[in-house]
């Protein structure tokens, strides 16, 4: 329950606001939950209804909730790709306008549902069910993943990414954070117990190693990826990199730096974690072979996920350990059951072996290439030099630096009033103050392709008119 503290200087509507942002961000109030009616809450808390209204309108403006005619106020889905932090303090004395649910949501992590090959996937799921029905007994999945899927993944990665591995090196997991949890557990007893990662970088992974109490090292990134000068002074067990498409800047790690990294890892007994999260989605050049494919000394832990290429709802990902690390893995995990359902593993194995997966990737690449091009064209048309764009040519997101005096918070809030939901890139920075105050991270897969010009015009109006 909300507890209103009248002894502190924080305005009451902010206390209500803070309570709900905490509840929503923590997941205690999941998407689709209904907030109490304003009148009811006002009564319960013995407040004027205006105070509650004001708090709710602020939540609407910032995209936490939306109002649904006849139903009251409903919690929005907060995308999971980026883990937002609660806003630290509310700007005071602001006019809150009535707004609707965001019409256009630039969430990173959500995918275009219209292109997903439901017929083929349904076929594979039903075939997998039949396979399971015909089996003698119902069993646990194989501990490290179904052999047939591990084989398909190793074949596919060799073919598409140059990754060399035996199926025995492939461990099937429930997503990139699960992969990192496994690696954190394996290195938990290391004397150095240090984890290094690019900064900015994926906050969901930073969180896993912070939770495991690793000493953290954050390495800056420039146009061709991680800064080697900062790498050479590291003493760490693990260095996490995104060589094909740095998250979120989009930088590609140059071949020279890749070799330098591999040599450095060999000479310092470090393992590199290569996160190849959306490597297939490169639009104007061929996909860049994985760093693992250059590695002669088994220093690369290669990780990938089907969240970007297929669906984040499936929770399917994998780790490919160098052979030298398999014993360490088994030492920790030999008594653990697999956490990934047999049905999904068998279905995905058929989906890959039948060629559906590659065909889907090709369609996805075509679609997202068009969408990104349309978005870029609209941005240039409407804003010209007033916006700097990073990360074009690959992936499913862009970084925008909006020139001028408006802060992230203002940019996001003004857009929300116009029905456009935008996102701050701040959670991706280990030290939040290092984040440029005008930087936004926008994912575009779920925006209809023909709407970009209209939306960007709307955005300009929202930001600069009046």
């Amino acid at each position: 329950m909300i507890y209103i503290d009248r002894t502190i200087s924080k305005p009451i509507y902010e206390q209500i606001y803070s309570y709900y942002t905490d509840e929503i961000l923590s997941g205690a109030l999941p998407s689709g939950s209904r907030l109490p009616a304003t009148r009811k809450l006002a009564e319960e808390l013995s407040l004027g209804r205006n105070t509650v209204d004001k708090a709710y309108q602020q939540l609407v403006a910032e995209g936490y909730i939306h109002s649904k005619p006849g139903s009251g106020f409903i919690v929005n889905s907060i995308p999971s790709g980026i883990c937002s932090e609660p806003a630290t303090a509310l700007p005071q004395h602001k006019t809150i306008l009535k707004t609707n649910a965001p019409e256009y949501d630039f969430a990173y992590g959500n995918m275009d549902n219209s292109i997903f090959p439901y017929n083929q996937w349904r076929k594979c799921i039903n075939n997998a069910l039949s396979t399971m029905e015909l089996a003698d007994t119902i069993r646990y999945p194989e501990r490290t993943g179904e052999p047939i899927l591990r084989k398909e993944i190793s074949k596919y990665l060799y073919h598409s990414r140059g990754v060399r591995c035996h199926p025995e090196q492939v461990i099937i997991t429930c997503g990139q954070q699960h992969s990192m949890e496994i690696i954190a557990n394996m290195f938990d007893e290391s004397p150095r117990k240090t984890f290094a990662m690019e900064d900015p970088g994926y906050d969901g992974i930073r969180e896993v190693f912070l939770n495991h109490k690793f000493r953290m090292e954050y390495i800056p990134v420039n146009d061709d990826g991680i800064c080697m000068n900062n790498v050479y002074s590291l003493e760490t067990d693990l260095l996490y990199v995104t060589p094909s498409h740095q998250f979120p800047t989009g930088a590609v790690l140059s071949i020279g730096k890749r070799k330098e990294l591999l040599n450095w890892a060999e000479s310092t007994n470090t393992f590199l974690i290569e996160d190849d999260y959306d490597s297939e989605l490169r639009y104007y050049t061929n996909p860049i072979p994985a760093m693992q494919s250059l590695d002669k000394n088994g220093r690369t832990i290669y990780t990938g996920t089907f969240s970007k290429s297929l669906s984040p709802s499936m929770r399917l990902a994998y780790i490919i350990f160098p052979e030298t690390l398999l014993n360490k893995y088994y030492k920790y995990y030999h008594r653990y059951n697999s956490q990934v359902s047999t049905l999904h593993q068998l279905a995905l194995a058929e989906f890959m072996s039948a060629g559906y997966y590659e065909r889907h990737i090709n369609r996805l690449r075509t679609l997202y290439k068009k969408k990104q091009a349309a978005l870029l064209a609209a941005l240039i048309d409407v804003f010209g030099d007033d916006i700097e764009v990073y990360g074009e040519g690959a992936g499913i997101h862009l970084l925008l630096n909006v020139k001028g005096t408006l802060s992230q918070e203002t940019l996001i809030e003004k857009a929300a009033i116009a029905g456009i939901r935008l996102y701050s890139s701040r959670p991706l920075y280990a030290v939040p103050s290092r984040c440029p105050d005008n930087q936004l991270l926008i994912g575009f897969p779920t925006i209809p392709q023909n709407n970009f010009k209209k939306i960007i015009l709307l955005l300009k109006q929202a930001w600069y008119s009046e």
Copy 2:
């Protein structure tokens, strides 16, 4: 590769045997893998072919591998419910007989596939696919689980187990070990950092807390469950119990002890983890309400799984936290994505709300009741007082103490030669020497009901005839 050390006294065939048992138990050689042909391996290691043959036959006899005409030797599926340890030493100078793959496998954890309601499950899966197809976008599952499934679980548990909770207290996980991993992470920073559990108990859970470097306390069990005298002297954060059906002894925690435990937990600031793993499968009395239903003070973390009641291949389980612990959960996990696929969550929610789940449990109870009765009758008919049986009247396994001079290893080995795979209960004991040397753990779901008499006769012959 196998390294043969000729400087040690361990016979060479045992070195080969140990190498392969390690590889198989660790999962490095998964089920279905082929061992090198005996001739080829003998050549590679510069050994006589007989030596390799002897090692392979031992592996066959113990059920690690089977010979497949035309294909050589293939690794068997080692069930995951019980995590076996490699045999410590091989008995010397033993005549190894040629055997086949086990015809009857008393593995704990595997389920009877013939009763699984594939038609209804298929319908729910396909409806879930349609729901997903009709959605606007593809999203991550809700962080703590899909609201619709959390609601169904809380309804079902109230109705069937007396458990009282709001859907917000339900966290969907990928299995009991995943649930324990979450709890271990949450209590990792506790000053006491102590985990107490029943002994014997489920080794898969012991392993999670050992891996997390908790101080461990093991509490003996008698006819009505955990020994309270040993509980009163505990200083621990967590005490793990299986009140409805102690694993593996089958003891039921008496109502008096339940209340004592709850009072003790309240007065010592301890949390009880109630594992209600196969509570629905009670054959001659009504299911016993969960301990959580008696808990007035929020000291019980209730955990359950669909592995025994539906299928271990699905990897679906849940934790129900007392409200007082939700903040602690969110503090660690608020930036983590769910690890459970949306498809399974939606399908299971419909499966439950349509009443299929309850109907399936009822059919399962009838079937397993008959199977257990048939097995018990056969054991009494054939062995009379020569076998003590524990755990009848519930669940999907029995504990057997076989009177006489034969050790576990010999009982298992002789049975294997007759095509019957049996299992040691030793991994369930924290101190292996506490395990009675004549104790076996046998699961019966996958054995055809009409075969028990025949199998038990075969077993007697295998054990006692010359």
